[in-house]
């Protein structure tokens, strides 16, 4: 479909309809009207605000049984289920501490019921100015790490699992971007994204069974109702990468039509190591554009989204000899030439992603019918030479999903069917993985029950997946059950939750049929065509307690994975230089550990917030009683936030944030892996609001210029280990209009 047809297609889908107005009011527990409360219409992804009288206006666009979330700093958040004909009158309880809530926040999540399932939700508003990248922000969650090299190539690790086992969704569409390799990044930026939900493990049955490690569900910023266009312009600079980034966003609305548009351009040079040298070819560039149209009627709501993302990523620490005898000096430069060192050199990845999706929801009084159709195409070219790619592949994914959501007595049912087709096509003769396609049909049902302080969740999903590869005369059907059960009980401030999830993952093309040199990882990779399905059983226990000042969460877990697919080196070399790696399957591996989160607001200083998380993980390969490759180091993450809003400080200084990371040494390793030393990193930043619509963030990362190599660095085994960036300063500006 060409670009003109695309625009015509979008423009034909909408019509203006008459509307009438409805009002709601938000009051404090002292019966005072609250202004500037965020009123989030969950299913419509629409954000309203209350006025000075605490009133917000609905244009009769809200179907019966819709959920509204109410949020205001200093008040307990609340969820309200709208019933037709009823007055919307909501009371928000003032918090003893005005910064944020300790304990469970009422909210509605896409991945399931937040009470029954272990779902974490994180706002990504203003991520562009507060964080160096999307993944860096997610790293602050306990149990979450990243594999990467600098800011260019980063991928998320959840409790030691990553790649194909951590499934990423963007607005309901699965992101399939050759995520099987550690040098293939997440595939999009924080542009226009408002929040992320995370489930650790496979408890979210609606979105497929592959998610043995977990599901990340990213959702765009909501639409906004406003007479005038709303939007922003933002810029940032980071001096460790000489990174310049720019974003813009515009939101329009009229009657029940909404339009959001965003764009981004980022350019980064090679990053500076603590010894003041620069890691050659760690540079990257990104351009992105996205827009969404929505028509939000009373019964029928339709949203169309399009996103374009282009990445050019240098592959640093490249050992072109493949002998692993390269030194750090050979892959670093003593200085940067800014007129040259933004240009892409070799080896480099060029990635272009297009994402289209259509969501349509129809509401009756009792049932919500949802239809989703999405198409995602990823083109990946990897160049070691200037003019000839080592491989050039198109991976296209088409998804259709129908879901019914209804309630009978106190039981909420979600039932649906999903069809997924994926096709991998090579555009050149040289290839690492062959042409192939797969068809996957899944049907699922989940039940949630919630009454007083007790609730449970149960779900089951059946998938049939057919993988066809004509090059290897391969045609195989995989089928398996996924299941999930969760129970929760709340007693005063004590909350206990237990969940079990059983899931499967069929082998991927790369694991079955790889046969070639992968320059991005400096290894020759060979698949195994008789791999079988991986099965996972995860047990997750969560205990949570809080009062007005202090809260803690204890979350031990155990995961048993049978027929675990891994890639291991063998004692053989391609062309006498590149070590050969084979895909293998282990009978059983275990992953266990716990996460502990503490949250404290001192009584003597209500505007101080301290949060600390501990994450410990242990992996065991039962086949040979050893560990698993790339087991994350245990970590302590501490965040201190001091709010200055109540003081009238110069330059509009509003906030100080300090973030400290302590990583323990990691010597639970396999024979072909090196251990890692412990390290400690401190970051800090100041937020200023010199004018009402202008935010300025000034920060420093790695304050003490610590030289460290994370255990999950993808270039840890090159040149004796390549350190992460040294001390860097960053400056970000955002203007809202």
């Amino acid at each position: 479909m060409n670009k003109l047809q695309l625009f015509l297609f979008f423009s034909l889908l909408f019509s203006v309809s008459a509307f009438s107005q409805n009002e709601g009011i938000v009051l404090s527990d002292q019966n005072e009207p609250l202004n500037d409360v965020d009123v989030f219409l969950v299913q419509q992804n629409l954000l309203l605000k209350t006025n000075e009288s605490g009133v917000f206006v609905l244009d009769d666009i809200i179907p019966n049984n819709s959920y509204l979330e109410f949020y205001k700093v200093g008040y307990a958040s609340s969820v309200f289920q709208y019933k037709e004909g009823e007055t919307i009158k909501v009371f928000l309880k003032k918090l003893h501490v005005e910064l944020d809530e300790i304990g469970i926040q009422e909210n509605v999540t896409v991945l399931g019921n937040y009470k029954h399932l272990n779902i974490e939700k994180k706002s990504l508003n203003n991520n562009f100015i507060y964080s160096t990248s999307l993944v860096e922000n997610l790293n602050q969650l306990s149990g979450v790490n990243s594999i990467g090299s600098g800011l260019g190539i980063q991928k998320v690790v959840i409790r030691g699992l990553s790649g194909l086992r951590v499934v990423t969704y963007l607005n309901g569409m699965r992101i399939a971007n050759q995520e099987w390799a550690n040098d293939h990044s997440i595939g999009f930026t924080d542009l226009g994204i408002g929040r992320v939900e995370l489930i650790k493990g496979a408890s979210s049955l609606k979105f497929g069974g592959d998610a043995v490690g977990g599901v990340l569900y990213f959702q765009d910023e909501p639409f906004t109702k406003s007479k005038n266009p709303k939007g922003f312009l933002a810029s940032k600079f980071d001096n460790s990468h000489f990174l310049f980034g720019n974003q813009f966003g515009v939101k329009l609305s009229k009657n029940n039509l909404y339009f959001n548009l965003y764009g981004e351009h980022t350019a980064s040079s090679d990053y500076r190591l603590p010894d003041k040298n620069y890691l050659f070819n760690s540079r990257f560039q990104n351009q992105a554009l996205k827009f969404s149209f929505a028509r939000l009627g009373e019964k029928l709501q339709t949203i169309i989204r399009y996103q374009y993302n282009k990445d050019q990523l240098g592959i640093p620490a490249h050992d072109c000899d493949g002998t692993n005898q390269i030194t750090l000096q050979e892959i670093t430069s003593t200085s940067l030439n800014l007129s040259e060192d933004y240009e892409m050199t070799r080896p480099t990845q060029f990635i272009i992603n297009h994402l289209f999706n259509l969501e349509s929801t129809y509401y009756t009084n009792t049932i919500k019918y949802s239809f989703f159709a999405g198409y995602f195409i990823n083109n990946l070219q990897e160049f070691e030479k200037w003019t000839i790619p080592a491989f050039d592949m198109d991976l296209s994914t088409s998804t259709m999903r129908i879901n019914l959501d209804f309630t009978i007595n106190k039981f909420d049912f979600n039932t649906g069917v999903q069809y997924n087709r994926q096709e991998n096509l090579n555009n050149i003769k040289s290839r690492l993985i062959p042409d192939s396609y797969s068809n996957n049909v899944g049907i699922y049902t989940t039940i949630d029950f919630d009454k007083n302080n007790f609730g449970f969740n149960s779900g089951i999903r059946l998938d049939y997946k057919e993988i066809i590869c004509n090059d290897y005369d391969y045609n195989k059907l995989f089928n398996a059950f996924n299941s999930s059960v969760g129970v929760f009980y709340k007693n005063n401030n004590h909350l206990t939750r237990i969940t079990y999830s059983g899931s499967y993952r069929s082998p991927h093309l790369s694991e079955l049929f790889s046969n070639g040199l992968h320059h991005g990882t400096n290894r020759y990779e060979v698949g195994t065509s008789n791999l079988d399905i991986e099965h996972s059983h995860q047990f997750d226990f969560k205990y949570q307690w809080n009062n007005d000042h202090f809260g803690f969460v204890l979350n031990p877990f155990l995961q048993i994975i049978t027929d675990f697919i891994a890639i291991n080196p063998i004692d053989s070399f391609y062309l006498d230089r590149y070590r050969i790696y084979n895909y293998v399957q282990y009978d059983e591996v275990n992953m266990s550990g716990f996460e502990l989160n503490l949250h404290y607001h001192p009584h003597f200083l209500h505007n101080l917030h301290i949060e600390q998380s501990y994450s410990f993980i242990n992996t065991v390969n039962r086949d040979n009683d050893s560990y698993l490759f790339f087991t994350p180091a245990n970590k302590i993450k501490t965040k201190l936030n001091l709010d200055f809003d109540i003081y009238d400080l110069p330059f509009g200084l509003k906030n100080l944030t300090l973030y400290h990371l302590y990583a323990f040494e990691q010597d639970n390793i396999v024979s072909y892996e090196s251990s890692s030393d412990s390290y400690s990193i401190l970051n800090g930043e100041l937020l200023f609001n010199p004018f009402s619509n202008l935010s300025v963030v000034v920060g420093v990362k790695n304050m003490f210029n610590k030289e460290y190599i994370p255990h999950l660095s993808r270039i840890k085994e090159v040149a004796g280990g390549v350190p992460e960036p040294g001390r860097s300063f960053n400056l970000s500006l955002k203007y809202d209009f």
């Binding site: 670009k3 625009f7 266009p229 515009v250 329009l252 609305s253 009229k254 339009f259 548009l261 764009g263 040298n277 050659f280 070819n281 351009q287 554009l289 827009f291 374009y308 282009k310 050019q312 072109c320 000899d321 002998t323 005898q325 000096q329 050979e330 892959i331 670093t332 430069s333 003593t334 200085s335 940067l336 030439n337 040259e340 892409m344 050199t345 070799r346 080896p347 480099t348 060029f350 272009i352 083109n379 070219q381 160049f383 070691e384 030479k385 200037w386 003019t387 000839i388 062309l575 230089r577």
Partner: protein, 104 residues
């Protein structure tokens, strides 16, 4: 609303037009060198064969490089490479390397 909408579409259209599919180096020039495996098993990258541009660059990356009369036969590590000897595409490197003195 209408003017704002048209403005946004124009901006989007401009961004579409300005984005190329890939980084095209078919017209650029790059210095190339040979990769020679020494008798002791190490790999040497010191033999420069000159700058190649456009189609010549593409040709040498795809098909390799033949020792020309102009270049002349040469000896390296006790081995003589006569005119007409073919170094295949894996033995010809034109990508940049980190230069510790940043002299490129």
């Amino acid at each position: 609303m209408k003017n704002s909408f048209l403005f946004c579409l124009s901006l989007a259209g401009l961004l579409f037009i300005s984005c190329d599919k890939d980084d095209d180096h078919h017209d650029s020039c790059h210095e190339c060198h040979l990769e020679i495996v020494m008798t002791d098993g190490t790999i040497d990258h010191s033999t420069e064969i000159g700058e190649f541009c456009g189609e010549d660059l593409h040709d040498v990356e795809e098909n390799g490089w033949v020792v020309t009369e102009a270049f002349g036969a040469f000896e390296f590590d006790g081995v003589t490479y006569e005119v007409g000897h073919l170094f295949n595409s894996d033995e010809v490197h034109c990508e940049e390397h980190a230069d510790h003195d940043h002299d490129h």
